[in-house]
């Protein structure tokens, strides 16, 4: 007779602790890391999968910023925080960007209470309030943390910083589309931080830590937390309409996201990208009162499997050319308008990396919940706006209300120890 509950056997304490302390690299080397996790887990009596994941470190340095294509699987928790920048001049702005860089790399690496901190982190006063809020305990795990920094057009327009010549082309204010219900409280800001981690306490810890370090230079203007669901039961996780979301996304090799050498953008932007954030309320009560057939037709996919209508698997590719009348997938279905899969529209695809949100109760007693739509692309106009324009009057508009967000430019990544985010602005 076999042991009925091997998983409940007391874990080998020492071994577990050792594994938890180790940092794992995910993202670029995601597959390798997974293999490593699996092999460690098989040695342990109890596979502490969740705990292991929260020790994962995503490399901060690279040609591009993290939180876009790395780590490949989106983290579970996110915060989108837009700030007003109150730096006095370009030198002060530079010091802010350097400070944010130190924070991003420290938080992303995880650090133990016994690790030395850079001087800029220390007050130099014995007995001063702790530098660390303690929310993550004294040893702060990496928790898959990434900070992605974006700059709004208003920062380049501010004469105090003299950055007009560096402004990326197409970095306008967020356009108001036909069905938008913009709320002033949810737009604006000169700088955005997208903070992502494997847990919501890490996201909170990071935001608080960053704000404490930049008090006086940054003022939080709006912020929204998001969550990413586990796959139900597998494949892409579901959004709050119950549909698998994030099924189709262009691969990094397709080169639709990073600004390349040949672009018409200012040289410093190479390796950067444009970020669009749209906070979209989803009228979930209304949606739940719609028949499944109509829901499927609005999206263009089967709810249960996530497969395109008429197909079996979520990974199946819809074939619009053999369905010109839209008898299988309606011509105005969300996925068909968003990506008609023609030669002409291939360039308007983008990387979507959104999060679900919940924000309490609306005046009418309904849940205030929806999607923090986030996309990354080489051109806001040619990709996001072109897509959004095609979607303008899709049947789903009755069930969604975009009310906030913004357009941002995400500077290239930091390549070496002396570099900092946005250093090209001052070159």
């Amino acid at each position: 007779m076999t042991d009925p509950a091997p998983a409940l056997a007391a874990p080998d304490r020492k071994h577990t602790v050792e594994i938890q302390r180790r940092s794992f690299i995910v993202g670029a080397g995601g597959a390798a890391a997974t293999g490593l996790l699996a092999s460690c887990a098989s040695n342990a009596t109890e596979p502490p999968a969740a705990k292991l994941a929260s020790d994962a470190a995503v490399p901060f340095r690279g040609a591009n910023q993290a939180g876009i294509y790395r780590p490949a699987p989106q983290q579970q928790a996110a915060c989108f925080a837009a700030f007003k920048v109150l730096c006095s001049d370009a030198a002060d702005l530079k010091s802010l960007l350097q400070r944010l860089t130190v924070k991003a790399s420290l938080l992303g690496g995880g650090h133990k209470a016994s690790d030395a901190l850079p001087a800029v982190e220390l007050s130099g006063v014995t007995g001063a309030p702790p530098v660390n809020s303690g929310v993550m305990g004294e040893d702060v795990p990496a928790a898959g943390f990434t900070m992605t920094l974006g700059l709004a057009g208003s920062l380049f327009d501010n004469p105090a910083y003299g950055l007009a010549a560096k402004k990326p082309r197409g970095l306008t204010d967020m356009k108001v589309f036909p069905n938008d219900q913009i709320d002033e409280a949810w737009i604006g800001g000169d700088l955005i931080l997208q903070l992502c981690a494997d847990s919501s306490d890490m996201v909170h810890y990071a935001l608080r830590d960053i704000m404490k370090a930049t008090r006086g230079q940054l003022q939080l203007q709006w912020k929204i937390n998001g969550f990413h669901n586990a796959p139900r039961p597998e494949g892409a996780p579901r959004n709050l309409f119950g549909y698998k979301d994030g099924v189709v996304n262009p691969d990094e090799a397709e080169q639709l996201v990073w600004i390349g050498k040949e672009s018409s953008q200012p040289a410093w932007t190479e390796g950067g990208t444009f970020m669009v954030v749209r906070i979209i309320r989803m009228l979930v009560e209304f949606w739940d009162r719609v028949g499944l057939g109509e829901q499927d037709n609005m999206i263009g996919r089967h709810r249960a499997s996530g497969a395109p209508l008429g197909m079996a698997k979520e990974t199946d590719t819809p074939d619009y050319s053999s369905d010109p009348e839209g008898t299988t997938i309606p011509l105005d279905a969300h996925i068909r308008l968003a990506n008609p899969r023609t030669k002409e529209t291939a360039g308007s695809r983008m990387l979507r990396r959104g999060y679900n949100y919940e924000l309490g109760v609306d005046l009418n007693g309904n849940l205030q919940a929806g999607l923090i739509f986030t996309s990354f692309q080489q051109s806001i106009q040619d990709q996001f706006e072109a897509t959004q324009t095609r979607l303008a009057n899709e049947p789903m508009v009755d069930y969604i209300q975009p009310f906030g967000g913004g357009y941002f430019f995400v500077p290239p990544g930091v390549r070496d120890a002396n570099g900092y985010l946005g250093e090209g602005l001052f070159a």
Partner: protein, 255 residues
């Protein structure tokens, strides 16, 4: 001979300087309370509101953060927190109770007794003041807690009883902090060179950010101040608070 311009060189000197300072402010507060009593008695709401503001600002300048004068101090301007019926609770008294009445259509019948009680409480505080020892350890706490209170009670809107005078009161709190800083500057400088000068600059920035919100009509209720100006005030007080938070540790002897 005492040279008043020189900053106190020991904590005991700083405490005595603070005592002298508080006594003077309490004298002024008494004058404002008398003016207030006359205006309330005449049902002259405009003058009464003015006198209330002068009195409340004067109390802020005392810098009585975190109940530093015990029950006697607490009686002058308690908030309505924790009262069953909130601001309408019969237990609610003091300066903020008068504010509530003046901005909620109350007349002499309701308010004269409250002002009289305030005067009696002021007399009691004044009489006890010589014996009320200020703990030297309180001074550095006061240095940062006056503005912590301003952010917690005024700029948050939580303490407002209808006047919308958060900025006027915060401005008075900045002055109180500047006064306490002046009393501790010499000591602070010897503990951490350049620290008092940095604080001074940050407090001036905060004062300027607050002053910039004032219009020709006077002070504006904080929620009505344009976002860009509010962000400057919030940023300036935030920065000052982070710096001020180091003060108590500098004086701490347990290391």
């Amino acid at each position: 001979m005492l040279i008043t311009a020189a900053p106190p060189a020991t904590m005991d000197d700083a405490v005595s300087a603070y005592h002298v300072y508080v006594t003077a402010r309490l004298g002024e507060l008494r004058q404002h309370a008398l003016t207030l009593k006359a205006a309330v008695g005449n049902a002259d709401v405009a003058s009464a509101r003015q006198a209330w503001l002068a009195a409340q600002q004067c109390w802020q300048r005392v810098g009585a953060a975190y109940g530093s004068f015990g029950d006697l101090g607490d009686a002058i301007a308690p908030g309505s927190r924790g009262l069953q019926a909130g601001s309408a609770d019969p237990e609610f008294s003091g300066l903020r109770r008068i504010e509530y009445g003046l901005w909620h259509g109350q007349g002499p019948g309701e308010l004269v007794p409250v002002v009289e009680k305030l005067l009696a409480d002021l007399d009691a505080l004044d009489a006890k003041l010589p014996e009320l020892a200020v703990d030297p350890a309180d001074m550095p706490l006061r240095l940062h807690e006056i503005l912590e209170d301003a952010q917690r009670d005024h700029l948050s809107g939580v303490g407002d009883q209808g006047s919308g005078m958060a900025l006027a009161l915060t401005r008075a709190d900045v002055e109180a902090t500047q006064e306490v800083l002046a009393m501790l500057a010499g000591l602070l400088e010897s503990l951490k060179a350049g620290y008092p000068a940095a604080l001074d600059a940050q407090l001036s920035q905060l004062a300027a950010a607050i002053d910039a919100t004032k219009t020709t009509e006077g002070w504006v209720a904080y929620p009505e101040v344009p976002l860009a100006q509010r962000q400057r005030v919030n940023a300036a007080i935030g920065r000052a608070l982070e710096s001020l938070a180091l003060a108590p540790a500098l004086f701490s002897t347990d290391d």
